[in-house]
């Protein structure tokens, strides 16, 4: 694996490491890591650093839904043009073009079910190319970004062993 790939793989498991510790783990120096990070950011490979949050563990009333969108394209409008318009809404957390029964899969968040419904019906559905929306409210999150939200394993190994 080249250094960039190794750095990406490390960041994808823990983006909170500071540059010094990343350098130690990759067997390189902090300046090299800084340089690689700058490069990855400026070329648009690393788009951000976020915590994986179990919102159900907070007082937040946050509601999220997956919404399936069907669209009808015409000569002037392709998927890209429609995606650009949808992506601009801050309430849209993710937006993907998918294969199968519908075209776009988006995740929408809001302060209540009503807020999410309203957003979909007032902001998304009226977009002329969109022919259908199906909203699935998320009831429970078990795993996110590769992290299992189940009971965390206790270390039951012997504290000292051969």
């Amino acid at each position: 694996m080249d250094e960039k790939q190794e750095l990406l793989s490390l960041l994808s498991t823990d983006a909170r490491e500071d540059v010094d510790d990343i350098a130690r783990q990759l067997g390189t120096d902090p300046e090299t890591v800084e340089g690689l990070l700058d490069e990855l950011e400026s070329e648009g490979t690393v788009r951000g650093y976020q915590a994986v949050i179990d919102w159900d563990n907070t007082d937040s009333q946050r509601v999220a839904a997956f919404v399936e969108l069907n669209v009808e394209l015409d000569r002037e409008t392709g998927y890209k043009e429609i995606a650009d318009r949808i992506a601009k809404f801050p309430a849209v957390e993710s937006l993907r073009l998918v294969s199968g029964d519908y075209d776009f899969a988006i995740e929408v968040t809001g302060e209540s079910m009503q807020a999410v419904s309203q957003f979909v019906s007032e902001q998304i559905a009226p977009i002329p190319e969109i022919t259908q929306t199906v909203t699935h409210f998320i009831m429970e999150t078990y795993k996110e970004a590769g992290i299992d939200f189940g009971d965390r394993d206790d270390d039951d190994r012997l504290s000292v062993s051969p």
């Binding site: 490390l10 510790d21 350098a23 130690r24 783990q25 990759l26 190994r157 000292v160 051969p162």
Partner: protein, 381 residues
Amino acid sequence: MTLQPNDRVADTPESGIRKFFELAEERDDVISLGVGEPDFSAPWAARTAAIHSLEAGKTSYTANRGKLELRREIADHVEQWGHQYDPDSEILVTTGASEAVDLALRTFVDPGDRVAVHQPTYISYKPGVRFAGGEPLPVPTGADNDFVLTPEALREAGAADADALILCYPNNPTGAVMDAEEIAAVAEFCVDNEIDVIADEIYAALTYDGEHTSIATMPNMRERTVVINGFSKAYAMTGLRLGYAMGPPDAIEAMNRVHQYTMLSAPTTAQYAAIEALRSCEESVDEMATAFNRRRRFVLSRFEEMGLDCFTAKGAFYAFPACGGDDEAFAENLLEQEGVAVVPGSVFGPGGAGHLRISYATGMRELKTAMNRIEVFVGDR
């Protein structure tokens, strides 16, 4: 007196690790760098296979040598290290690599035979040799040579007259590995002096710089080597107790004779887990190895920063820094003052004195805290 242990047992002291285990257990704020097993669980697919086998009622004995299906998977798996063993006649599945070591010693050691054991090394070999009626012959290795075993060290220790050699690389406790050239030199010594080799290669998959080289793949070594490996370290399956031995048909047949009368067969549930582990869990092994390698580099660079002399450990999940003085006192005080448990190197034989075994089989966050605490401790001395 009744139930008096025989001399061999009576003369074998309790493991030096025990004391540190007890000291560490007394406190609940201890970060332990003293653990000789991975901090991961067995890959989920392997665990699922074990569960399914139980649900299907697969709870009887298997063939003495282990399920043929598993032996076939093992034969394929070890090809990566240049091994070619016939699943029917050259592989024996055992209850942990530990059983395989014990079987090999009881099968090949005659009373009074001398068995060379390089030092420092895993704590079970010397007692195992004694229980089998043999005489352990310690062969020192040192930091000056990155804890690699050399023909010179063997010759100096008188191992030219030895009947067998136990070779454990990547090594517990040092993390040392031996490259092809170094292995070839030891192989030549063994051929020249007609020494059989028991090669414990349990950490083979955890080799970080370069490739693992097995002594059995060297010229004229296959017929005099029993290769031992298992699922404990690479597949994080320590508690499932599953290992294997590979060697020429007559050797495996002989070991199986001891095995069939003493163990019958290795745990059935574990065998199902192992089949799945070999079939579909290579990615999990790679992920674990990657994580270990990162921690290895982290730990080595932290030791360098705090001025603890540490050779570049290249395998297993151990580093073996010099602590500059009495390792037992260092470990005891470190535990008492900073709440970090490590194992003093002298536990693994005289050659380990003045060193500490640092296991980095623990999460990065704890590892960072532990290293900071060691830095404070070293600075205060």
